[in-house]
């Protein structure tokens, strides 16, 4: 009799696994599309060696070591202008943002920053759009969250605002050990 019961063990294990798969599938259906836009999630940020707007060279090594946002922008992009004040707010809260100046000319980019304010830790100039290609950039603005090891953890296609930050980015940012300024006591 005991032996007879043992024979059912594989079936029961498989049944438990199946329940789990159905849950996973349901989860997959509810995940929003914007989270699935990049196959690069959980992959290392691609290697690059590109100049900044001050013509200093930057490589992937400059990105690692801190949980950061990499913001893809261009002076030609109107939505980037809309997004800018909130990014400025984020830097005030202690978030490090690196600017990936995408398919732009240095002169136009520098002028734009003089008008709207340079909130970026440093810049990466991707004039030809090659790095953008490696990153699977659709257009500007786009924002990547990368962890200390330089692994991409989240990608936002489109403007980042308070709601997106609070719901999508901030939990991940904190989970990967990102730091925020403690709000001043009122």
């Amino acid at each position: 009799m005991k032996k007879q019961i043992l024979l059912f063990v594989p079936l029961l294990m498989f049944a438990a696994l199946s329940v789990f798969f159905f849950e996973a599938l349901k989860l997959r259906e509810t995940r929003s599309n914007s989270e699935l836009t990049s196959a690069l999630i959980d992959r290392p940020f691609p290697e690059f060696a590109l100049p900044g707007l001050d013509n200093r060279m930057h490589t992937r090594d400059d990105l690692v070591g801190e949980v950061r946002l990499v913001n893809v922008w261009g002076s030609w992009c109107p939505s980037c202008r809309d997004e800018h004040p909130f990014l400025e707010e984020l830097t005030r809260r202690g978030v490090s943002i690196v600017g990936l100046n995408y398919k732009d000319t240095p002169d136009a980019a520098i002028q734009w920053l003089q008008v709207f304010g340079d909130i970026y830790d440093f810049h990466i100039q991707d004039q030809s759009g090659r790095l953008g290609l490696d990153l699977g950039v659709y257009g500007a603005p786009e924002t990547f969250l990368i962890d200390r090891m330089g692994v991409i953890r989240y990608k936002r296609v489109g403007v980042v605002n308070e709601a997106i930050w609070e719901e999508q980015i901030k939990p991940r940012y904190l989970a990967f050990g990102g730091l925020l300024n403690t709000p001043e006591a009122p």
């Binding site: 079936l11 196959a39 060279m57």
Partner: protein
């Protein structure tokens, strides 16, 4: 009209597959040999119809029929004809059609080459193949129709095949892999037939053995090709990434390996029947599971098939029905076919049982690692991946005892082996392996204790293998040993494992890489090789433009290689591809890939020297060769013809 013909043929195939699933089984129920034998014409017709459907899809590609959605998305008028041919399986819909074609081919093969088996057994096995084929044909028809048209406005040109897939390795990799995956369906169907008939014995194991060997052979080749392709095409210099799709192919391979060994016990001694049946069920179930994980979008991967929850739901339901009913059958019927013979703790059987345990455990480890991100997500935590360190540490943890026991197991006697015999056999290989480790240590050709251990174990296994061959030579003479295909199959496959282990040990621990900014005239040194950059040129390919770097590699004053890595820009999609420049050698690979263009005509370059890289695939080729040789086992034929 071609696409419509193709769809019609496939629909007819769906009907025939249902006939194949039902009629022979009814024949068995009512003991009608005539009905049972209808399985053969059904199997032939099924294969023919799916082949016709497949040919029509291929014709749509070759003729640039841009009214077919699938062709528009995965081909382009500029694409060379051979890539149009292989683009058929370049994405989800077409690759599923290929899958169905391969399944029908295996079914036909079973029908043709199993005439010597009892009628009722054959009929049930073929009916089971019919059920599996029906499941997949309806999957293609309902969720993944490759013949869908975009009328009345066809596209002017296609979006092109993903450049990563425009490669010779990718022409042959998927068909090989599917031959392997789907090949295990035969083991599955034989297991079902055995369970229904309540009959399982040495003869059954003997019938199943060549089919399992053949499937294992194809899967081994398929996985090797995939890894080789990743090595030279992805441009990172890695050859195994523990990517979900790779894991999906590794799991059935591990269980298939266990099945091959379990069968060798079942055919020789009336033992391990429970194991063998379960492994036969799970090898194929894991192939289905892999398909589910990859095609449903439940896991994301670099292989990025078009993901679709609807497809995922279908495959999951199918997996549930197929594996669930097989396991239910197992639970209800297996009690009747229990083996009674025993064996001692020190014997060939116990070491093969150990092999089964290790393989199964490792398959579980891979399954857990692959599913872990899902579990975490289901618990509402953030997405994480366990990554290579997890898999690598388990590979080491399970690989060490596996290789240790294998050395002994190859030479152990069936039923009972004596301790004194074992004590006599062990000292020489042990001493020599330790000597190898000591030599490596003294000569400084190592970088970590793990590497010493790996090479030492490879030596241990190799020495036991040689000793076994020597003993057999002395005992039975050269002629009988030469004719022993079964032994040669084992020896070649195990030698393959030795070679692969050495390759992994060296390439994982002794590889060197640097990233450098290089302009023409610059040179860099890696592991004693001097890489001199000669020039950068721009070249035009058939459907891309490429920046090509030319490098000369010197060792001392002697030029050893000319490397030409490329950075390609494909016109139709604007995709950028890195083509690595590789100089392959028996003892080392030189590997150069281009990074980003920098200012003043310089490029970021990645230079790598990877020792013993070829041994990794050389070993897997030997394993496949071993499986091939074992197919020619005379005893096997002798019994089969009975």
């Amino acid at each position: 009209m071609f696409p419509e013909f193709g769809l019609m043929a496939l629909s007819m195939a769906a009907a025939i597959s249902l006939c194949l699933a039902v009629v022979p089984a009814v024949g068995v129920r009512f003991e009608s040999t005539q009905l049972m034998r209808l399985a053969d014409p059904f199997a032939a017709l099924l294969f023919l119809l799916i082949l016709v459907s497949y040919i029509y899809l291929t014709l749509s590609f070759l003729q640039d029929d841009f009214s077919v959605l699938y062709v528009v998305n995965h081909s382009n008028s500029q694409l060379p004809w051979y890539y149009k041919f292989s683009a058929v399986w370049g994405s989800h819909e077409g690759s599923m059609l290929l899958w169905v074609l391969v399944l029908a081919a295996w079914t036909l093969a079973v029908s043709l080459f199993s005439r010597h088996l009892p009628d009722n057994f054959r009929a049930l096995a073929l009916a089971s193949q019919g059920i599996l084929t029906a499941g997949f044909v309806f999957f293609v028809l309902l969720t993944s129709n490759p013949f869908e048209r975009m009328l009345p406005f066809p596209a002017p040109d296609g979006a092109d095949l993903n450049p990563l897939l425009q490669d010779i390795g990718l022409i042959i990799h998927p068909p090989m892999l599917y031959m392997g995956y789907v090949g295990f369906s035969v083991a599955f169907s034989f297991a079902i037939a055995a369970l229904i008939l309540g009959r399982f014995d040495k003869a059954w194991a003997e019938w199943l053995r060549p089919w399992t060997n053949a499937a294992w052979l194809f899967l081994t080749l398929g996985i090797s090709l995939g890894s080789w392709w990743a090595y030279y095409e992805l441009g990172w210099g890695g050859w195994w990434f523990w990517d979900p799709v790779e894991n999906a192919s590794l799991m059935p391979w591990l269980l298939g390996t266990a099945l091959v060994h379990s069968l060798s016990v079942s055919r020789t001694r009336n033992l391990f029947h429970s194991w063998t049946i379960l492994l036969a069920i799970f090898s194929f179930s894991l192939s289905l599971l892999g398909t589910f994980l990859v095609r449903s979008g439940v896991l994301t991967s670099v292989h990025a098939f078009a993901s679709d929850p609807e497809r995922g739901a279908y495959i999951l339901m199918f997996l549930l029905a197929v594996t669930g009913s097989a396991l239910l059958l197992y639970a209800l019927r297996m009690g009747k076919i229990e083996a009674t013979e025993g064996f001692a703790p020190l014997s060939r059987e116990s070491s093969l049982l150990f092999n089964n345990l290790i393989m199964t455990l490792f398959a579980l480890v891979v399954l857990l690692g692959t599913l872990y991100p899902l579990v975490i997500e289901a618990l509402g935590l953030q997405s994480v991946s366990v990554g290579p360190p997890y898999f690598n540490s388990f590979l080491l943890l399970l690989g060490v005892p596996l290789l240790l026991v294998m050395g002994y197991g190859q030479r152990a006697r069936w039923r009972i082996d004596s301790l004194s015999q074992w004590l006599k056999q062990t000292p020489a290989p042990l001493a020599l392996s330790l000597l190898v480790i000591l030599m490596l240590y003294l000569l400084g050709g190592y970088r970590s204790p793990v590497m010493l251990l790996t090479i030492g174990l490879a030596a241990w296994l190799f020495l036991h293998l040689v000793a076994d061959g020597w003993q057999r030579l002395q005992a039975s003479g050269a002629r009988r040993l030469m004719a022993n295909a079964r032994w040669w199959g084992m020896a070649l496959a195990h030698l393959g494992l030795v070679v692969t282990t050495v390759g992994i040990g060296y390439s994982a621990h002794l590889s060197d890489a640097i990233d450098a900014r290089m302009a023409p005239g610059d040179s860099e040194e890696v592991s004693g090789y001097r890489f001199e950059l000669e020039s950068f040129d721009r070249q035009n390919g058939p459907n891309y433009v490429a920046d090509v770097a030319t490098l000369n590699v010197y060792r001392g004053e002697r030029r050893v290689a000319l490397l030409q890595p490329e950075k390609r820009l494909y016109n139709a999609r604007g995709d950028v591809m890195t083509e690595a420049g590789i100089s392959a050698g028996v003892y080392r690979d030189l590997y150069v890939s281009m990074g980003e263009p920098l200012e003043n005509g310089a490029w970021a370059m990645r230079l790598q020297v990877k020792p013993m890289m070829r041994w990794v695939w050389g070993g897997t080729l030997l394993m496949a060769l071993g499986a091939l040789v074992a197919l020619f086992d005379r005893r096997q034929k002798g019994q089969a013809n009975r």
